[in-house]
């Protein structure tokens, strides 16, 4: 698949300030400094892919999305979105992309969401028939039948987010940028949003780039980009991420309460209590003779072996970053 987004050596800094001391006089004397939001970012995103852009708060995810959508100018580097420079051809690109900014809604607060949808149909010149058909489709998938004609101010946060999504995709964009699209959305609605994304990708080869902290959102992405302090510290498939950071197994043991087995030499003890323990081990240990012998002892009532969850893998990734801040970029 050809790349629809190509980013080369993009950097962006902001001037910001902090007040270090307390008190009124200190508030008048601000210390300004330059914060590097992005440093030398290079990446490619192929057409029809779903890419999760992850990273901790303030890592530069939103800044990158805003540069890709032509909202912000980078200080240096080049960006190509569908072959065009997004800040020089913003208007042209805006017709072909959809953007959901979780922190800033598309919807008019005092009006029903339907008015915003109609507004979108005019600014994107959507044919009336197509508009009705697409609206019906998205309203159905996202379960908004009883919601979209109510004023936005009376909606829950989750309902607003779903309506924001609809407003941003009614023109069937080729690329959809979603900046934390599932803030405040309940579990079933999150699943519905993911279904909508997967359907659009299947039907129209829509490319999705989403920033998120939600593991289930990340799980639908075949590609993951991770930013840390403005640097791209991981770029690769989810499988690679699991391979690198998930090469561990969790062994849960249930044993006779009268015993207290020594487990520390098998791996990292995650928990050990009366009659129960869980340890993190290397996969090879499962073939180790001594370990198998231990599992067959009489005091072992039952055991379970499982892979690391994506949540655990991400936690490990963050732990790893904490150990070597600004760590070397791993590309795969």
């Amino acid at each position: 698949m050809p790349n629809v987004i190509e980013v080369k050596n993009v950097s962006k800094s902001f001037k910001t300030y902090e007040t270090k001391k307390k008190g009124f006089m200190a508030s008048l004397r601000r210390k300004y400094y330059i914060k590097k939001a992005l440093t030398n970012i290079s990446l490619n995103i192929p057409e029809g892919s779903i890419t999760a852009l992850i990273g901790r708060n303030g890592s530069g995810k939103s800044t990158l999305i805003k540069i890709l959508t032509g909202i912000l100018y980078p200080d240096s580097g080049t960006v190509s979105v569908m072959g065009l420079n997004p800040w020089e051809y913003r208007m042209k690109i805006a017709k072909e992309i959809g953007v959901v900014l979780g922190a800033h809604g598309q919807l008019y607060w005092n009006l029903p969401a339907y008015d915003t949808f109609k507004f979108m149909s005019h600014i994107y010149s959507i044919d009336q028939g197509d508009f009705e058909k697409r609206l019906k489709h998205f309203i159905g998938i996202l379960n908004l039948e009883n919601v979209y004609k109510k004023p936005v101010r009376t909606m829950s946060l989750g309902e607003q987010m779903k309506c924001n999504f609809v407003a941003s995709v009614l023109h069937m964009p080729k690329i959809v940028f979603l900046d934390e699209p599932t803030i405040g959305v309940d579990l079933s609605s999150k699943a519905a949003l993911r279904t909508a994304m997967l359907e659009m990708r299947k039907e129209y080869k829509t490319t999705f780039l989403l920033t998120t902290h939600i593991v289930e959102d990340i799980s639908i992405a075949e590609s993951i980009l991770m930013l840390e302090k403005g640097k791209l510290v991981f770029e690769g498939s989810r499988k690679k991420l699991e391979h690198i950071f998930g090469d561990k197994r969790i062994v849960e043991l249930q044993f006779d309460e009268s015993t207290n087995p020594r487990l520390e030499h098998y791996g990292k003890i995650l928990y050990q209590g009366k009659g129960y323990a869980s340890i993190e081990v290397k996969p090879g240990l499962l073939k180790d003779r001594k370990f198998i012998e231990m599992l067959s002892k009489d005091y072992i009532i039952d055991y379970k072996v499982s892979e690391l969850s994506l949540t655990s893998i991400l936690s490990k990734l963050y732990e790893n970053l904490d150990r070597k801040i600004g760590g070397k970029r791993e590309t795969h």
């Binding site: 902001f14 939103s62 805003k66 959508t69 032509g70 909202i71 912000l72 100018y73 913003r90 208007m91 042209k92 805006a94 017709k95 992309i97 953007v99 900014l101 922190a103 800033h104 809604g105 598309q106 008019y108 005092n110 009006l111 008015d115 915003t116 507004f119 005019h122 600014i123 994107y124 010149s125 004023p151 941003s168 900046d179």
Partner: protein
Amino acid sequence: MTGKSAGNVKLTSLVEPYLAVFSIGLKNTLAYKTDFVLSLFSSFFQAGLMIFIWTAIYDFTNTTSILGITLSTMYVYFFLLYAFRVVINFSVPEVMQEDIQNGSLAVAYTRPLKYPIQVFMSGLPDDALYAGIITIPLIIAALLLSHVLLTPLTIMLVISELLIGYTIVILIGFMIGMLAVKLTNIYGIMNSTWSVILLLGGGVLPLTLFPNAVYQILMLTPFPMLLYVPAATFLGMISTSVAIRSMFTGLFWIAVLLLVTIIAWRSVRKKITSAGG
């Protein structure tokens, strides 16, 4: 498709999105009808205050005319000023400041619309409503009160002057609004600029009451076109030739302000940051 109809289609597709901005802005304005109706009368009190002050001045000085302006002409002058001021307001910098402060600018930029036109079109519904509900009826009332006989030429002049004044205030507003990109909060600058515009535009007293040298200098600036020139043309306080000369001065300032705004916007655009992540 003929060249003409293809051109029409292109023009429609260019204009339609901005008409949609106007239309949804209108719905938004009318969402809170009570607030809208109350806001219609807020500047009425300011006009009333000016009439009260000038009545006191005429009474205190025991005069029937100040530099040829009678009290009844002064009443109609401020009556007209109120009618014009509800349309000629400073909404553009306020919208821009809000967009920058709450991050809505980022959303506006994701749409295939030119931001400056978007700002203008989103403020236009308010102005159009005020014009329809207040300005036009008040101008008719002023006509009846002042017994002024308006010729078609005077009507044309007043309408043209108001449109020029409206364009000038939009452009000044946009230039002030651009400061929000750097300063984020521009309430103080907005208020002081608006006060200066009102004073120099004849919103506090008719410009003929300034010393002649000051009056002559002021007539070379863009400000009299906002309020004084249309009101003075209406009341016959200035001749047709002065009115026409003022219009050309206004058009000259529109060209200057437009050029400066375009150049400044190209530079400011690159410095935009979006608040709130």
